[in-house]
Amino acid sequence: MLYISNFVLEICNLKVFNMKRRFNILIVGTLLLISSGLWVLSVRLSVDPKEVLVPGGALIVIGYGLYLGVLKIKSLKRKEPLDDEFSKKVMIKSSSLSFYISLYMWLFIMYLSDKTNKEASDLIGSGIIGMAIIFMLSWVGTKFYGMKDE
């Protein structure tokens, strides 16, 4: 019985480990999906991805900033503290996660810089917007899944 319970425990631990890894894969997969969609769009509709990606990304970042601002205003109206231990931990965790994922994004951009004729400023601008989007997704994901085991 002890052997069976240990075996079940290992499977449960694997589940938790796989769920955390799946979340990281989900973020990377989403970004790849978006970039693939833009590539298909550019090929089929002769649309320059830069014309869609950069303004779209900037809009998403601005919208996210506005959303955070609205949350802060609502907190002030309810006379809540703007930051507490939970919100600070969420910020720290999402920052570290987004930094980790951004490293791979920059490696990918460096790889792309040799394959495309894009100017360095365009790639850097896209990378910066990508980092902001990655941080936004990390923050949303951290809030959604919580931080039970930390």
Binding site: P81, E85, F86, S87, G146, K148
Partner: protein, 52 residues
């Protein structure tokens, strides 16, 4: 007592109390202590640790 009232008494945001109730967040020792003081109970009577 509502979540908002408890949050105001211990000095945190309401969402922190929500995540505590859902079991998606482990409070700091100070927060656990403050919450137990509000209810007049010990920490062990309010928070249960589940071994993984």
């Amino acid at each position: 007592m509502s979540q908002m009232e408890l949050a105001q008494k211990v000095g945190v945001r309401r969402e922190t109390i929500v995540f505590l109730e859902k079991g998606k967040y482990n409070p700091s020792l100070k927060l656990a202590h403050d919450i137990s003081r509000v209810f007049g109970l010990t920490i062990e009577e309010i928070f249960f640790f589940e071994s993984n």
